[in-house]
Amino acid sequence: MPEKNKTKMRELDPIQRIGCFEEVALGYSKEEALKEAARCLQCKNQPCVSGCPVGINIPGFIKALREERYKDSAMILKGDNNLPAVCGRVCPQEKQCEARCILGRVPGGDAVAIGRLERFVADLEIPVESVVKPSIHKKVAVIGAGPAGLTVAADLAKEGVSVTVFEAFHTAGGVLVYGIPEFRLPKKIVSNEVQFVQEMGVEFRFNEIVGRTVPFEELVNDYDAVFIGIGAGAPRFMGIPGTNLNNIFSASEFLTRVNLMKAYLFPKYDTPVKIKDRVAVIGAGNVTMDAARTARRLGAKEVHIVYRRSEEEMPARLEEYHHAMEEGIKLHCLTLPVEYLGDANNNVVAMKCVKMTLGEPDSSGRRRPVQLENSEFTMEVDMVIEAIGQTPNAVLKAGFSSVQLNKWGSIQADEETGRTNLPKVFAGGDIVTGAATVIEAMGAGKRSAKAILKYLAGV
């Protein structure tokens, strides 16, 4: 029988890591990786693969790895997944591939650490010549260079399609560069993966906002197909009184300053970021954890996560939550801010909060938080980051007025193919589903790429 528990991954010590932006999870050594790979049962029916949104041949890459055929392993991995070094780090494997692993069902046992192995193989940086098929003389425009767009671009390029990616920012990666912090996903990893996509012949046009700087109709006319993968980029605010006081930020602003604009290196980099002593971060998702941990690293003395439901309903990955707790971040559950209070200079000095209790399940299946009467109290804070989710960017969407939207204001697209109401136009990722995960967006990209190929072939 294999070892019951997964091989531990070394991590930076919490005291050390809150003083820097170095990656926390250090990855496996060769010995550790081989030891972990040896645990895989190589199940015939491959339950893990069915849990992977991009359908990676998991037993295949693990088998090659444990036979120390590293290049084969990397080729299998990259054949199915264009961004394995990213996915190995940020996928919620515990809810996907690893959730289906037989070893995880043994009482007290752990699933194979598939994500860590994926990261190990990807980080070997074995040059894998991407097999690009001869040109099929078709061209596709991809809007947005985030996880969905990069996946579509790479999958189509492999099949001989000429792909142009239009990106609003000055660099590729989307949420991988503006959202996820360096200590969880080093930007060097993202640029390596983007380079891999570029080497397949994908052309990137930066600083182009389709619908603003290039008309959408122009792309529809000039290209054989168009994929929209612009994400859910508009920040949501709770909208409570005092939201426009100073030192209240959306998580998107805070993280964009730090990640995309590298404000943690201010003044070497010109973009500044605020940091105060007592920071409250509202929400309990992965973005909340990212913002809280970033605030801690920038020097906040206290960081408080304020969440209206209980620990059990937290949408964040368990690992991220644990990391945050190790770093001295405090969690306040069943607490809802109802008003921000400011001083004479309009700087926030406190939040009025109420205590909550959990009632009947709501549409999300989670128990609805209900306000407790007479539970109002004040929490002193001098900075607040709201991390309660994003919505589709209404203005970016306005550039695609001919594309049909659903009742949530997202683009209406077929789940399996990404087809929209316009025959040439496909869409996927957060702009279709609302804010979700990197790998789900990549999965949608994969399915769309298949559908686009069929469409181009006239099938």
Binding site: F169, T213, T256, A394
Partner: protein, 277 residues
């Protein structure tokens, strides 16, 4: 990469810069802005477009902090890393009758394409251009062909009326019915013009220039309360009815990064001093 075509000092600390851009001229309309990024270390700097010509775009900048200094130090022939635009919504130009356009300080520059478009649309255009003193008054000669009447105000009286632009606006409003006002300049100026416009029940467009990061509606840094709504200047604006803007809050938001700006500027000057030595 985008080349700096020309750079001319038109007033103390104020530079008139033309940049190469392949297609911004095809789409830019009065009132819109662009964002540029000088190099890997630079901020994303939002600037209102002053004019465009085939393959080029013009901005006018006053050096106030590190980023603007760095930008104005880029010599013709050199390049900057990124330009994205046009961004924001165009001004709502129409044939209104008599309109009054008011520019203060370096805010005179973004007013220029609006004044020109209003004149072309057949309006009687009254201009009020204000500056602290004569030497700081920019673009007067360029405005003249597009104005039916021009008032100049300076804080020290070195040219035109001594006082602020509202002194001139008061005179105009006493004399004739103005259908729409445009005001671009320091926030305090826009606030007081808006108050006067409100007293006269006149629509008053102002172009907000709050702190921005991405400029595409993603971060909410540039949010402002306008009427009952929270609006993002980058995507819902930059022009709003100034009578509805909650000015005092916005002005305080504008000063949020003062300390950081000061520190960056000091470091930059030290670094430059070191190089010159």
């Amino acid at each position: 990469m985008y080349k700096v075509i020309s750079r001319e000092a038109i007033a103390p600390d104020t530079f008139d810069i033309w940049l190469e851009h392949p297609n911004i001229h095809k789409r830019a309309k009065p009132g819109q802005f662009l964002i540029l990024r000088l190099d890997e270390f630079s901020e994303r700097i939002p600037l209102t477009i002053v004019s465009t010509a085939e393959g080029r775009v013009r901005v006018i900048i006053k050096t106030i902090g590190k980023s603007t200094y760095k930008l104005c130090a880029v010599m013709p022939g050199k390049t900057i890393a990124d330009i994205v635009g046009p961004l924001g919504n165009p001004s709502e130009i129409d044939r209104f009758g008599t309109v009054c356009v008011i520019g203060g300080g370096v805010g005179i520059a973004p007013l220029f394409p609006i004044a020109k478009a209003l004149k072309e649309a057949g309006n009687r255009v009254i201009g009020i251009l204000g500056a602290a003193k004569k030497e700081l008054l920019i673009m007067k000669d360029e405005f003249l062909p597009h104005l039916d009447e021009l008032y100049i105000t300076t804080d020290d009286g070195s040219e035109g009326i001594k006082g602020t632009v509202t002194v001139a606006l008061q005179k105009v409003l006493k004399k004739e019915k103005v259908e729409v006002i445009w005001a671009i300049g320091p926030m305090v100026m826009m606030k007081f013009v808006s108050l006067m416009a409100a007293e006269n029940n006149t629509l008053c467009w102002v172009s907000l220039n709050p702190i921005m990061v991405d400029g595409t509606g993603m971060c909410g840094a540039c949010r402002a309360e306008v009427g009952e709504e929270v609006e993002f200047a980058c995507v819902h604006g930059p022009e709003f009815d100034g009578r509805k803007v909650k000015w005092d809050e916005l002005i305080k938001r504008q000063y949020q990064y003062r300390e950081e700006e000061k520190r960056a500027m000091e470091d930059y000057l030290k670094e430059m001093g070191g190089k010159n030595a």
